[in-house]
Symmetry: C2
Subunit: 417 residues, 2 copies
Amino acid sequence: MANDPIAELGARAKAASRVLATASTATKDAALQAAADVLLHRHAEILGANAEDVAAAEAAGQGALVVDRLRLNDARLQSMANGLRSVAGLADPVGEVADGWIRPNGLKVQRVRVPLGVVAIIYENRPNVTSDAFGLCLKSGNAAFLRGSSGAIRSNIAIASALREGLAKAGLPHDSLVLVEDTAREAAVEFMRLRGIIDVLIPRGGPSLIRTVLDNATVPYVIDGDGNCHVYVDASADLAMAAAIVENAKTQRPSVCNAAETLLVHRNVAATFLTDLAPRLEGVEFVGDAATGEILGERVTSLATENDYATEFLDMKLAIRVVDTLDAAITHITRYSTGHSEAIVTTDLRAAERFCLEVDAAAVLVNASTRFVDGEELGFGAEIGISTQKLHARGPMGLRELTTLKFVIHGQGQTRS
Amino acid sequence: MANDPIAELGARAKAASRVLATASTATKDAALQAAADVLLHRHAEILGANAEDVAAAEAAGQGALVVDRLRLNDARLQSMANGLRSVAGLADPVGEVADGWIRPNGLKVQRVRVPLGVVAIIYENRPNVTSDAFGLCLKSGNAAFLRGSSGAIRSNIAIASALREGLAKAGLPHDSLVLVEDTAREAAVEFMRLRGIIDVLIPRGGPSLIRTVLDNATVPYVIDGDGNCHVYVDASADLAMAAAIVENAKTQRPSVCNAAETLLVHRNVAATFLTDLAPRLEGVEFVGDAATGEILGERVTSLATENDYATEFLDMKLAIRVVDTLDAAITHITRYSTGHSEAIVTTDLRAAERFCLEVDAAAVLVNASTRFVDGEELGFGAEIGISTQKLHARGPMGLRELTTLKFVIHGQGQTRS
């Protein structure tokens, strides 16, 4: 499909989406299993293509992290196949009757869950996204219309070819997965303007991709944005619990969006808490306000700036601020939060209630690590991303978030007067 | 607020939205009642301002329809006030626990319905939208950030001022309603790029407004699009019921989006049905395919073109096509539908099931008029628009569609391993 215009590729995905919308769960699950089989069967071809991508990245002097994200091996391929089988085991959201009622005139109204249609995803170097996104789209009855990066193009072509063979084995259209092979920026812009073809676009990438989408997309999209997450340690907190939560939220995996970036601590417990916390976070750089500096001395690298409080470090670095009240903590969060995940550690019922009500974020947590805000951890089985917008889906998006509701109305000849 | 920059107006709406998010239902209802009272109390001022708008429209040679939409009188003002009181009587969607579960590690997860925040609406000449939109936004805990047209600006300023007085009487911030008084096109574009301020934009207007939104908006939006609605009369239909439904769907109010535009009729019943139908639709112009022409002769004005089938007439005009099968009907609808409302008249269970499953629209109806696809008729009490997109809300949007879900997670010190 390399040379076809993007609109033509989109039309093929759209046509396939009509078949998928009425495919049975059993057929979709069979296709997921078959796709997993073909993925493993074709491991030599896929790893060969991937080796070329990796060699090109190394030749271009890409950093070790980029190369590692790109690299596949037998274990990673097995994990992609396992992912598809695990999605086959999840409940199918399609056909669920979300609600229903009868009107006084006898009209029977139901809202039934149906696929969105064509789900488009623009993503960066990780080739496993090709398989993961395909699995979630297929299970929810959607055609996957994928556009990866040039750096992973050989891997993506090989993976997509295997997945398409799996689809055909189960009797589903090849075009239930369509990969855009043109990785030019102009093609990405054309892609995000295929209104009438793409039902939702989920961009998975950094700020420059998000900016391109905001400025150019005419199709509906869901933004999987930054996570500048806070943990607030209240005056009433169990301080041992608070230290464990802050340590986990900051250090368990600092490079991800649900890691904590700023610690807010109530003045009444700041000295005790920060003094106990510091040795637990040995590898973490601290920046803090003046009060933090007074408590921790040289352990604090520098005075925290506005910019520090606004930054998603994604690194072993923590901004700290001592606050006088719960209100001051909420005000700080309201100012700097990106609306992802915000936690309070407290034993005070009223403080917990106010925090949950007044903090505006996809997820608010009481006495738990921000790291739990993730599709797998919350029980969705898998996730396609974490939405930081409020429209359509907010927070981790699983299979249900790849569907919409259709009104199905049954009458007995009713007309409107 | 006339001279304030739009971003400043937005920041004020945002600040008010934080207060509204935690306002009680009783307070919001009191504000709706107070706003209705002030609207009636200030009738002389509002009707005076409106008379100036009407005079300007007439002086500019605007058509009778435009002037009629613009004109207020005591009855219309009473109806606006009644609308606010009726919204006060609806159930408050905020605080509903949509679902909840406990994870194996003991985390208690709930998804709680919360306001979107700042709901922005761009609309055209009808000044009643100022009051209707405000009512729905307030009840659902959102600040209303409104931008009407220049033709209704005097009316809108007077109405907004009355509603803001009502808010203050109930102790809510004036800025729960912010009206943009700058009606220049540049201001509209600036408005739809207030990312971080506007949580959803609902444009209510024609294709040129929609195009401006698609090309310029960076805030999330929901499109209230066209309705090119079809009625398909199946071979098995009760033909008397079918005639009543077609007549109702076409003529009861032809100027609205849920009116029918094309009739598809199965060949087996076409001659009988169309011959009986024609006299019932005396004032309606017919365009049809060759088979329709053979049955109805000169009653058909012209052969229906591609363009006729693709057009939302919004008028006393009906396109007709005779089809050989249910499949052909579905294929026609798939090609020309705008995804609004599609109806089948049938007594055949399998045909009804297939139509509901295979037709991709916000609403599918069996044996009922398309005119029922409307927030009031479906029991929402009121509607802010009818979404023809699949993201967030599809079909009539009531109070629930002006909310989002927040994850509220309670732990006992859990950390992730």
